[in-house]
Symmetry: C2
Subunit: 352 residues, 2 copies
């Protein structure tokens, strides 16, 4: 399952080249209302898109539905798309996941190119080939494994995003950097992403994608090393579910940022992870993500949620930890006492 | 894309073995109203099916829809099916095509087994891995390429079918035999399938499947030899469309039978295909399928439809012909005069 990944901030040129080289019968471009309004105008120099059929779905995760998928199928059909037509998915995870599913099932599969426009999409969508829609209340319940023919990763659309959206994606980049090396983590934490150039941001994104590609390549069937990518997620998922239960949902990326702090504390307590790196990370998270408030009354429910995590076995809490940046300890069983101690320290670090 | 094909008339035993070996979390069985009523009772000894979740969709090609697909997804979800659950598709092309699509997209793909219950399904569904539903008025517009984990091919359900349904599938077996050898064609034409044993029928079906497997294996990407499988279909598709236009639709298999006669005439005229085989085939088709009535006024429209066939290039009529049984001439361009002469002779042979 190989796919071409192109890192560039000249998306219009990259798309034109792909379309010319592919010799497609026709081109359709899928956006949601946001990316149609904010991103598409930035690609006005793209000849290929100007002549394309435009398909726009409603924005927001609540529209990752069979209805939107049907809308895309119908539009492809009405545009006369054939198996030699190309679908360009221009947007965040909603558009690339749903558009990938539409393309992989229309006439039993037509070529498609993903152009992620969010930080998370750029870091995440470039690898893996998962497509999907939500169904019956469950996330990505219907989907396929089908890699895009090409993914164009760029940083030139991030200015169109709300700051919270950028930060949510940035948390995954922090995670990837921690899995790579101390130097990489410093580079990511040192970046003033409010004011850095698209060129610098693209470099960081490319480095981040390469970390994930390396890990996935070493463990394509998710037997071992790939679980390293769960760093921050045992605690992060619990925080996300907990916040949802309280009726105050938080973004996944934010929950991961807080989870990275708690699991770095655990890494320090259990694996000798350096305290100075922990402090630096905690300060970065506090300043950029704020603190997720936890009181002693919440501990039991949080631990319960961690035990129900899909990575958990036999009802024990299971985490990916670090001995140091780039040195992963997989599948560490964590006692209730250690977890509670780690949350205590997290609260201190966050100033709660 | 390999898949296990099991030829047996003890389907209950074969299914039980597959389920035990697979160690699935749960099993669901998909039928349509006909196969639920007529076929399922024949499998009452099957322990695995007795404990399965039963999903039944409406019978008939008009129900090969997104609505039926949604019904299957919902039923799988409500039964608590996981990625380690098995879906058994028990029925004709509607059930195996639609069930295959449901399984290949539910949670991005769960294992499935096809148990074709029609002659066409047995001969056709065992090879290829195509799934699909109709959409926006077009056949199999939405689908995937996804081979079943196993296909159980049997002849023990054919008694539940109307004679026309059996004959429609038998036309494809005649075609496969013609692509194999004169001996194989004789064996198929000699069979009194109204009265032959399931064991004998299973032998014929297995031989037929092996012809298709050999051809597909030699040309998996449909570049050359695989087009041999179009034998009878250039004329057959035109007859099918023509009959539909006249408001008197005919079964695909019947149209193929008549198409085989016309294209055998062409094979005789253009490639020296032996006249005695042509006469034998024509008699068999006349006796078992009757004649499709064509008058001179119909020729122009029929030829027009042939020129619009997907195999046609530059508006020419293109056929797969035979020098003799088993000796294929691919992509033969046929002039209007030759085609009209062939239809003239077809009308003589059919006694029209």
């Amino acid at each position: 399952m190989s796919q071409t990944v192109i890192f560039t901030n000249d998306v219009a040129d990259a798309l034109n080249r792909l379309v010319v080289q592919g010799g497609y019968h026709s081109v359709a471009v899928l956006t949601d209302e946001h990316t149609r309004q904010l991103v598409l105008p930035l690609l006005s120099p793209c000849e290929a898109l100007r002549r394309a059929t435009h398909i726009t779905i409603a924005a927001g995760e609540s529209h990752k539905t069979l209805e939107s998928l049907t809308q895309v199928w119908t539009a492809l059909q009405q545009s006369g798309a054939t198996r030699q037509s190309l679908l360009v998915n221009l947007g965040g995870g909603l558009v690339t996941d749903l558009g990938g599913l539409a393309a992989s099932t229309f006439k039993r599969g037509i070529p498609f190119v993903n152009v992620p426009t969010t930080v998370l999409g750029a870091v995440d969508a470039a690898v893996g080939g998962k497509t999907g829609i939500d169904f019956g209340g469950l996330k990505n319940e219907i989907g396929t494994f089908c890699p895009a023919n090409a993914v164009i990763v760029s940083a030139c659309f991030f200015d169109t995003l709300p700051r919270e959206e950028v930060m949510a994606g940035y948390a995954e980049m922090v995670k990837h950097a921690m899995l790579q090396s101390g130097d990489e983590l410093n580079r990511v934490l040192d970046t003033d992403f409010g004011h850095c150039t698209p060129e610098h941001m693209l470099e960081l994104v490319e480095a981040s994608v390469q970390v994930k590609r390396r890990i996935v390549a070493e463990d394509p069937t998710e037997q071992g090393l790939r679980r390293a990518l769960n760093l921050g997620h045992t605690v992060g998922h619990a925080i996300e579910s907990f916040a949802l239960e309280r009726g105050k949902p938080v973004r996944h990326g934010y929950a991961v940022a807080w989870g990275l702090v708690v699991e770095s504390v655990l890494s320090h307590l259990r694996q000798g992870f350096p305290s100075e790196v922990l402090y630096r990370l905690a300060r970065f998270v506090r300043e950029n993500y704020g603190a997720f408030h936890i009181t002693c009354d919440d501990y039991d429910r949080l631990l319960q949620l961690m035990r129900h995590d899909k990575k958990s076995r036999h009802g024990e809490i299971n985490c990916t930890l670090l001995r140091q940046c780039g040195d992963v300890a997989l599948d560490v069983t964590v006692s209730d006492d250690d977890m509670k101690a780690a949350i205590d320290i997290y609260r201190d670090l966050m100033g709660i």
